[in-house]
């Protein structure tokens, strides 16, 4: 449906086109939706007839409209913004009302009516005073991210919509070992999940792997080292692809996938969280499964380039 509408020059907000970001929400007026058109939407939205245009394959005539956006999006104020390196900025938003979410879920950040992109939540409600934290990676050809990285300022207004996604910590199985692995700003949801687990008193070991091209890309290196010093059960494994002079000896020069394979030949009984670019996540999901992790205990959030 989304393709048809866009090719007919209808204006429909959209981004991932894969049923994840929930940007292309539309509302059914009359007719019958196909199974899957409402997948992942919360019950109250489903009851209102909201659905995703990108997941809708009409089998009969439908009458549809764009929903009233104000009721779906939450106004937020930028409360903090700092660039950590040439590519990544940390942004904090103060929502007008408290947003219910689990650390590691994602929301869509809207610049205006039409331009929105999905970002993972790195914050933890109980720790971060209900402020929302995002790690923005500046995509060279991106539409929203250069603006979020470069131009936005404390005090500016934005809107967020969501949350969605199932990649988050649950307290059941607190003795289990956790493997958290991510590339680039895949660290954002993992940082939320990690602190959520620690805050809830997770008892098993937690191994966090962060992979980047250069040491500069390990943008939370010191913060994570400090956390690992405070928490006995947390082990931080930074990995980079490129060696450089004066590299911290803690940092491994190794492809993240190789490091994981070398370190963990058996993941039986583990819970695994994988975040980052799609090829990495898909490959690791398979590797971790073959190493013995159960499919239902592998949580993944693949970043889809819009």
């Amino acid at each position: 449906m989304l393709e048809t509408l866009l090719s007919a020059n209808c204006v429909v907000p959209n981004s991932c086109r894969a049923g994840v970001c929930q940007s292309c929400l539309m509302q059914l007026v009359k007719g019958q939706l196909n199974e899957g058109a409402q997948r992942g939407l919360k019950d109250s939205w489903q009851a209102q007839g909201l659905f995703l245009a990108c997941q809708c394959h009409p089998e009969q005539d439908l009458e549809i409209k764009l929903p009233a956006m104000d009721s779906l999006r939450m106004k937020c104020r930028v409360s903090k913004h700092s660039r950590l390196n040439a590519e990544v900025a940390v942004m904090r938003l103060q929502p007008k009302e408290r947003l219910e979410y689990r650390p590691g879920q994602h929301v869509t950040i809207w610049k205006d009516e039409l331009l929105g992109r999905s970002y993972s939540l790195a914050s933890v409600p109980a720790i971060d005073d209900d402020e929302l934290e995002f790690h923005i990676r500046r995509q060279p050809h991106g539409i929203l991210s250069p603006w979020l990285y470069e131009d936005i300022q404390v005090g500016d207004q934005l809107q967020v919509q969501g949350p969605g996604g199932e990649c988050f910590y649950t307290a059941s199985g607190s003795e289990q070992n956790l493997l958290l692995a991510g590339t680039g700003t895949g660290l954002a949801p993992l940082y939320g999940i990690l602190r959520d687990a620690l805050q809830q008193g997770h008892a098993g070991a937690i191994h966090l792997y962060h992979g980047a091209m250069h040491a500069d890309g390990l943008y939370l290196h010191e913060t994570l080292q400090q956390l690992a010093q405070i928490h006995q059960n947390l082990h931080y494994h930074p990995c980079v692809l490129n060696h450089e002079p004066g590299l911290d000896t803690l940092i491994r020069v190794e492809n993240l996938a190789d490091a994981l394979r070398r370190d963990w030949s058996s993941l039986q009984g583990w819970r695994v969280y994988l975040c980052g670019d799609e090829p990495f996540v898909n490959q690791q999901r398979k590797q971790c499964y073959l190493a013995g992790a159960r499919l239902q205990e592998i949580y993944a959030d693949a970043f889809i380039r819009a």
């Binding site: 898909n282 490959q283 999901r285 398979k286 499964y289 073959l290 013995g292 159960r294 499919l295 239902q296």
Partner: protein
């Protein structure tokens, strides 16, 4: 007398079996080339459908689905030896889960009954 599906433990048992069975399949050099999908979530959902059927559970499989779903694999060389291997891995999975021999034989019988459709004969 309870049905085979109930005896095996219903949907929870299917989920447990999928996890073990699909890992065996992916690690078995005889058959893994036919299951080499990057999206293991999608693939495991298919395995769940298959195992539900051979467990005698509620399913919507038809002979036509079986034929169409496997046609491209038959074109790539899928034959009796691969079906044999799958039935063997299925038996091994159930054994690991502590299922008795009579029930394993019944599951194998259901799998056997779709051999002709799977191989498009």
């Amino acid at each position: 007398m309870s049905s085979l599906y109930e005896r095996l433990g219903g949907e929870a048992a299917v989920d447990a079996a999928v996890d073990i069975f699909y890992r065996k399949v992916l690690m078995d050099e005889r058959v893994n080339e036919f299951f080499d999908d990057v999206d293991i979530e999608k693939q495991s959902a298919k395995q769940k459908g298959f195992l539900t059927m051979v467990f005698g559970g509620p399913n919507n499989y038809t002979g036509k689905d079986m034929r169409e779903g496997h046609k491209h694999l038959v074109d790539r060389g899928l034959n009796d030896s691969h079906v044999d291997a799958i039935i063997e891995l299925l038996g091994g999975t159930l054994k690991e889960l502590g299922v008795n021999d009579a029930d394993i034989a019944e599951v194998a019988g259901i799998a056997e009954s779709v051999r002709g459709d799977v191989l498009n004969r």
